[in-house]
C-alpha cells in the first residue's frame, strides 16, 4: 500500500512521481518501457508547431519571442532541476535541425547548441562523415553566419556508420572528450576568416549526461549538437537523468504494464501483468499517446476480414481500462460510438492535416488540474485536447503528481475523498 501510484515512465510520469515525492508521498512508478520521451529529440516546446507557426504569423517579427502563454509552472521547473541537464532560458532558444532549419524552442536538452544568444556571430559547422550529416548543406541552410569547419571528429572507422546513440556514448569517456576538444581547438585555430564563436556538431555528446558544457569549457567556446532523428542521444540522456532522479527521490520502480484500474474500498487498485496488483490512495496515469502506447488506435480495418463485430466500437482505446467504461474523449466530450459497425472512417479523422487533428486530440478527459475523477489523474500525451509536447507533459505531470500526493495525504488523514465530493478541487498554491 502506497500513497501514490504513477503508471508510465515518460516525462509526465517522471514529473508526477518527483512532484509527489516532494510532497512527501510514498510513490511507486509502474514502468512500461520506452515511450515518446525516449524518442524525442531534445527540444522543449509548449505549443505544437502548427500553432507556433500560426502564432508567429500574428507576430510582427519572425524573430520575436516565442508565443509561450505564461511562465513555466514552478513545480515543473523544480522537476527539471531535479533531472538536471535541461535549459529553460528566459528568451526562446534557437535550435539547429538536420532538416536544415533553425527553429525556436522554449527550452532544450543541454547537449544541444542554442544559437539565439550568438546572433550575428560566426558559427562553425563541424564537417565529418556521419550518416545524414552534410555540413556544407547545413551551413548554407542555417544562414549566412554559418561556415564549415574541418575537424577530425571520428576516431575509429566504425564511427562512419554507428547509430547516433552508440556514437554519442563514446564521448562519455573523459579521454575521448579531451581528444575531441584538442581536435576542435586545432580546427578553430586553423580556420581562416573572422573568429569562430561557436561549434555545431552532429548528435554525439554523451548519453550518461550531456557533455556539451564540459567540451565548451575545454575548447573555449560554446559547442553543442544539432537536433536530429528520433531515437538519438537526447532521448537516452532523458532516460539516464530520469533513472538517477527517481532513485535519489526514493521512488520505487516496478517494471510492468498496467491493464486495469479499479476502485476497491476507497483505494485504487492497479492490475499489472504477471498477476500482480498495486494499491494506492491516489493514482496518476501518464501512459502517453499513440507513440507511448497509452492510447491505441483500433481501426475498423483491423477486423474487417473476420466476422462483423456485433457492436459498434470506438476507434480508439486506452491500454489501461478504467472501471466504469472508457474515459476517452475529444473536444471536451466523451468519444461517441460511431454510427456504423465499421467505426469512424479514418479519412474523416483527416489526420494529420486538419488543424483539429483528431488523433492528436483524443485522450483521457481531465480537468485543468489533470483530475479524471477523485483521486485519479491523467498527465502528458494521454490527456485529451492538450498539446502533445514535452513542456506540457512536464507541467501536467508535475501538477497531477502534486495534487495526487495531496489527495493521498487527505485520504490518509481521514478526509475520505469520496465524501468530499471530488467536485471541489483542492486549492492550489
Amino acid at each position: 500500500m502506497t500513497d501514490v501510484v504513477v503508471v508510465g515512465a515518460g516525462v509526465a510520469a517522471t514529473a508526477a512521481a518527483l512532484s509527489a515525492a516532494r510532497e512527501h508521498a510514498r510513490v511507486v512508478l509502474v514502468d512500461g518501457g520506452t515511450g515518446a520521451s525516449s524518442l524525442a529529440t531534445g527540444a522543449i516546446d509548449a505549443l505544437p508547431w502548427q500553432n507556433a507557426a500560426a502564432a508567429s504569423d500574428r507576430e510582427a517579427s519572425a524573430n520575436g519571442p516565442a508565443a509561450r502563454s505564461g511562465a513555466v509552472d514552478p513545480r515543473g521547473r523544480a522537476v527539471l532541476d531535479a533531472l538536471g541537464g535541461y535549459a529553460l532560458p528566459d528568451r526562446p532558444a534557437l535550435l539547429l535541425t538536420t532538416a536544415g532549419i533553425a527553429r525556436r524552442a522554449d527550452g532544450h536538452d543541454a547537449g544541444l547548441l542554442n544559437v539565439a544568444p550568438l546572433a550575428g556571430r560566426r558559427i562553425g559547422v563541424v564537417r565529418c562523415e556521419r550518416p545524414g550529416w552534410d555540413a556544407a548543406a547545413f551551413a548554407a541552410a542555417w544562414g549566412d553566419s554559418f561556415v564549415v569547419v574541418d575537424a577530425t571528429v571520428l576516431r575509429y572507422l566504425d564511427e562512419r556508420v554507428l547509430p547516433d546513440g552508440d556514437f554519442a556514448a563514446r564521448c562519455d569517456d573523459a579521454g575521448r572528450l579531451g581528444w575531441l576538444s584538442e581536435r576542435l581547438r586545432e580546427a578553430v585555430a586553423t580556420a581562416g576568416g573572422s573568429p569562430i564563436a561557436a561549434l555545431v556538431l552532429p548528435p554525439s555528446l554523451g548519453i550518461e549526461r550531456a557533455r556539451a558544457a564540459e567540451l565548451s569549457a575545454r575548447v573555449g567556446l560554446p559547442c553543442g549538437e544539432a537536433l536530429a532523428a528520433p531515437g538519438g542521444p537526447a532521448g537516452l540522456r532523458f532516460e539516464r537523468a530520469r533513472d538517477r532522479a527517481l532513485e535519489a527521490a526514493g521512488v520505487e520502480r516496478v517494471r510492468a504494464r498496467a491493464s486495469e484500474v479499479t476502485r476497491e474500498s476507497d483505494r485504487w487498485c492497479v492490475a499489472l501483468d504477471g498477476g500482480r496488483t498495486a494499491l494506492a490512495d491516489a493514482l496518476v496515469l501518464a501512459t502517453g499517446g499513440l507513440i507511448g502506447g497509452g492510447i491505441e488506435y483500433a481501426p475498423s480495418e483491423a477486423m474487417i476480414a473476420s466476422v462483423l463485430p456485433p457492436f459498434a466500437r470506438v476507434p480508439f482505446r486506452a491500454t489501461v481500462a478504467i472501471e466504469g467504461g472508457s474515459p476517452l474523449g475529444m473536444h471536451g466530450r466523451p468519444l461517441e460510438l460511431p454510427g456504423s459497425l465499421f467505426g469512424v472512417a479514418p479519412e474523416s479523422l483527416a489526420w494529420p492535416f486538419a488543424r483539429e487533428a483528431p488523433m492528436d486530440r483524443v485522450g483521457v478527459l481531465a480537468d485543468a488540474d489533470g483530475r479524471v475523477s477523485p483521486g485519479l489523474y491523467a498527465a502528458g500525451d494521454l490527456v485529451a485536447d492538450a498539446p502533445r509536447t514535452w513542456l506540457h507533459a512536464l507541467e501536467s505531470g508535475a501538477r497531477a503528481g502534486t495534487n495526487a500526493a495531496r489527495d493521498a495525504g487527505a485520504a490518509t488523514s481521514g478526509h475520505a475523498l469520496a465524501t468530499a465530493g471530488g467536485a471541489a478541487s483542492p486549492s492550489r498554491p
Binding site: 535541425t97 532538416a99 536544415g100 532549419i101 527553429r103 499513440l290 507513440i291 479514418p346 479519412e347
Partner: protein, 579 residues
C-alpha cells in the same frame, strides 16, 4: 440531348457550341511543329515518336510526368488476353508490342507469373477446362513477348506453389505477364524526346488553345500555358496540337472551345493497396463478393492489391482511396488469400482510367480500347485527342497518331522508330552485383538502382566517384542514394520531393518518409537554389499527402508510425523561420 442509358453523363449541361478563340497578334513568342498537352504515358509516347521523326515538339504537363493514370496504374504490360475470343488480332498486336517494350527498356520490366486458382464448386471442372483451352490459345502469342506457356495445375501443385491459398481448390492455371514501373516508363520517354530535341515543361498547365491570327501557315494554333509554381506564362505557336490528357480530356478540349462530348471518357477510378513485402511470388487472381476480379501481386519489392472501377466525377488533381474501397479490396482478396489480413499496408494509390465512353457498345470500340479523335470535324484541323489507351499499348497508340499526323499535316515520311530505338538506360545494362562490389554499395541498393536506371546507373555512380558523400543513403527503405536524388533533379525534371518519390520510390516504403523527406527536401532546395524553408515545406507536404493515402489502410502499428513521423517532422522542421 440524349444520354447513354447505363452511364450517367459527366456534365449535366449540354455542350455550348462556341468557336475557338483567336489569339492576339504576337502572343506566341516561339513556335514549334507539335504541342502535346499532358505528360502521361500517351503524351510522352507521342512526344518521343514525333521527336524521333525529326519534328519539333513542346510538351506541357500540368503536374508532374506520370501524375495521372500512368503513375497510378497496376503496372502491368499485358498481352491483351481478354480480346482473344472476339479479336485475336488485337491480342497478337498487344503481345508484339509488349515484346517491343521489353526490347526498348529491358531493365524496366519484370516477369509476373499469375496464378488463377479454380474453386471446387459446381462449375469448377467446366471452368477449369474452358480456362485451360482459352490460355492454350493465348500460348500461341506468348513467344512474341518472351512469355512462358500456361500451365494447368491440380490442387496439390497449386498448394505447393502457393501454400497461402485458402479453400478447397480443384486446381489452377498459371499464365505469364510482365510488370513495369509506369512512372519510370513516362520519364524515360520524356527524356528520350528531350534528347531528340523536344522541350518538356512540367508543372505547367495549358490554359487556352486558340487559333493563330492569320490562319493556315506553319502556325495554326497558339497554346498558352502557365508555370504553376512561378506563375510564368509560356505561349507557343504550333501547327498541330495533341490533347493527351487522359481523364482530363474533356476539360482540355473545352480550353480550345471544342465540344466535350466528342472526347468523352468514362472516368473509372481504381485504387490499389500497397503491402510492405512480397507475400507471394505469383500474382493471384481472386473475385470480390460481387464477382469482380481482383488481384494480389508481387510488384518490385512490395505487394499490391487491386483494383476497383467506379465512376468518378471528383477533382482529378486530388484522387485518393477511401477506407470503404480498402475494405472492399481486402475482403475480396482475403477470401482466397487470408493472410492479407495480417499483412501490413503501407499505403494506397488511386488513378482514374480514361475509358472509352462507348466501350463495349460498338464493334470498333470493342476491338481496341483507344481512339484518335480528329477535331477537323469540329472545325479545328490539326487538333487531335487521344482517348483511352493502356500503359501496355501506349507505343502502338502513339505510332498510330504519329503515322497519321506526319503524313497528313507535315508530309514527313520518316518511319516510326520507337520500337527499335532503346529508351535511355536500355543499353549496356550493368551487372548489379559487380556494380555493388565496384562502388561499395549494398547489393540491394545496386539492384534497385540498376532496375530504375539501367545503363544510366553508371552516370549516377560517376557522381559518387566524384563526390563520395553522395553515397549516403537518403531513403533507407527503398534504398535511394543521395547521388540518385540529385541525378533525378538535374537530369529527370524532378522539382519537388514528390517528384523525386515518383522517380525513385523514395519515401514510399514502410516509414512513410519519416527518415528521408526532410533530407530530400533539403537536397531539392539545394539543387534548385531555393530557400531552405521551401525544401521543408515540400517535405511536409509530401509526408502529409502520404499520410492521407495511408490513413485509409492504417492499422494500429501504422497509426503509431504515423504519429512518430509527425512528431519527428514537428521537431526537426519546426515552424518555418525564413522571413
Amino acid at each position: 440531348m440524349v444520354q447513354g442509358e447505363s452511364v450517367p453523363p459527366p456534365v449535366s449541361l449540354p455542350p455550348l457550341q462556341r468557336a475557338m478563340p483567336v489569339a492576339e497578334e504576337g502572343l506566341a513568342t516561339t513556335s514549334t511543329d507539335v504541342v502535346v498537352v499532358g505528360g502521361g504515358v500517351n503524351g510522352v509516347g507521342v512526344a518521343r515518336d514525333f521527336a524521333l521523326r525529326g519534328l519539333r515538339v513542346v510538351l506541357f504537363e500540368r503536374n508532374d510526368l506520370a501524375f495521372g493514370a500512368s503513375g497510378n496504374s497496376s503496372g502491368m504490360i499485358h498481352g491483351g488476353v481478354r480480346y482473344l475470343s472476339q479479336a485475336p488480332h488485337v491480342t497478337e498486336s498487344s503481345c508484339r508490342d509488349s515484346g517491343y517494350i521489353q526490347r526498348i527498356a529491358p531493365h524496366l520490366l519484370f516477369r509476373l507469373p499469375f496464378l488463377m486458382p479454380i474453386r471446387n464448386g459446381a462449375m469448377g471442372r467446366i471452368a477449369l477446362e474452358l480456362i485451360d483451352a482459352y490460355f492454350r490459345a493465348y500460348d500461341d502469342y506468348q513467344p512474341l513477348k518472351r512469355g512462358e506457356p500456361h500451365c494447368r495445375l491440380d490442387a496439390t501443385d497449386v498448394a505447393r506453389l502457393e501454400p497461402g491459398l485458402a479453400g478447397t481448390l480443384l486446381g489452377g492455371i498459371t499464365f505469364d505477364e510482365w510488370g513495369i514501373d509506369g512512372a519510370r516508363l513516362c520519364v524515360l520517354n520524356a527524356l528520350d524526346a528531350i534528347e531528340n530535341g523536344a522541350r518538356v515543361h512540367v508543372h505547367t498547365t495549358v490554359e487556352t488553345i486558340a487559333r493563330a491570327p492569320g490562319g493556315d501557315g506553319p502556325v495554326r494554333y497558339v497554346v498558352e500555358a502557365r508555370d504553376r509554381s512561378t506563375g510564368e506564362r509560356v505561349c507557343v505557336g504550333a501547327r498541330v496540337v495533341v490533347n493527351a490528357t487522359g481523364a482530363w480530356s474533356p476539360v482540355t478540349a473545352s480550353l480550345g472551345a471544342l465540344p466535350q462530348a466528342r472526347v468523352r471518357v468514362r472516368p473509372g477510378k481504381g485504387v490499389h493497396i500497397v503491402l510492405d513485402r512480397r507475400l507471394s511470388n505469383y500474382g493471384i487472381l481472386s473475385e470480390a463478393i460481387d464477382g469482380r476480379q481482383m488481384f494480389l501481386m508481387p510488384w518490385q519489392n512490395v505487394s499490391v492489391i487491386g483494383t476497383t472501377d467506379d465512376d468518378y466525377y471528383g477533382d482529378l488533381d486530388d484522387v485518393h482511396a477511401t477506407s470503404e474501397e480498402v475494405r472492399y479490396l481486402v475482403q475480396g482478396v482475403a477470401r482466397i488469400f487470408p493472410s492479407v489480413r495480417e499483412a501490413r499496408a503501407i499505403g494506397t494509390y488511386a488513378g482514374v482510367r480514361p475509358t472509352l465512353y462507348e466501350y463495349g457498345r460498338n464493334e470498333d470500340a470493342l476491338s481496341r480500347d483507344h481512339r484518335v479523335v480528329d477535331h477537323a470535324a469540329d472545325g479545328a484541323p490539326g487538333v487531335y485527342s487521344m482517348i483511352g489507351g493502356k500503359l501496355a499499348s501506349y507505343r502502338m497508340f502513339a505510332q498510330e497518331l504519329c503515322d497519321r499526323v506526319a503524313t497528313a499535316d507535315f508530309e514527313v515520311t520518316v518511319p516510326c522508330a520507337t520500337h527499335t530505338r532503346r529508351l535511355p538506360g536500355g543499353e549496356g545494362i550493368p551487372d548489379a552485383t559487380a556494380l555493388a562490389v565496384e562502388h561499395g554499395l549494398t547489393p540491394v541498393a545496386a539492384r534497385r538502382l540498376v532496375y530504375r536506371h539501367g545503363g544510366r546507373a553508371r552516370r549516377i555512380l560517376e557522381r559518387v566517384a566524384r563526390t563520395p558523400t553522395e553515397r549516403d543513403v537518403t531513403c533507407p527503405c527503398e534504398p535511394v542514394l543521395e547521388a540518385e536524388v540529385r541525378h533525378v533533379i538535374r537530369e529527370e525534371m524532378a522539382r519537388t520531393v514528390y517528384d523525386v518519390a515518383r522517380r525513385t520510390r523514395l519515401g514510399l516504403g514502410a516509414c512513410g518518409g519519416m527518415r528521408c523527406a526532410a533530407r530530400c527536401g533539403q537536397i531539392v532546395a539545394q539543387e534548385r537554389q531555393l530557400p531552405p524553408s521551401e525544401g521543408g515545406r515540400m517535405a511536409r507536404e509530401f509526408v502529409e499527402t502520404q499520410a492521407r493515402a495511408r490513413v485509409v489502410a492504417m492499422g494500429p502499428a501504422q497509426a503509431r508510425q504515423e504519429a512518430l513521423a509527425l512528431a519527428h517532422l514537428r521537431s526537426s522542421l519546426g515552424e518555418s523561420r525564413d522571413a
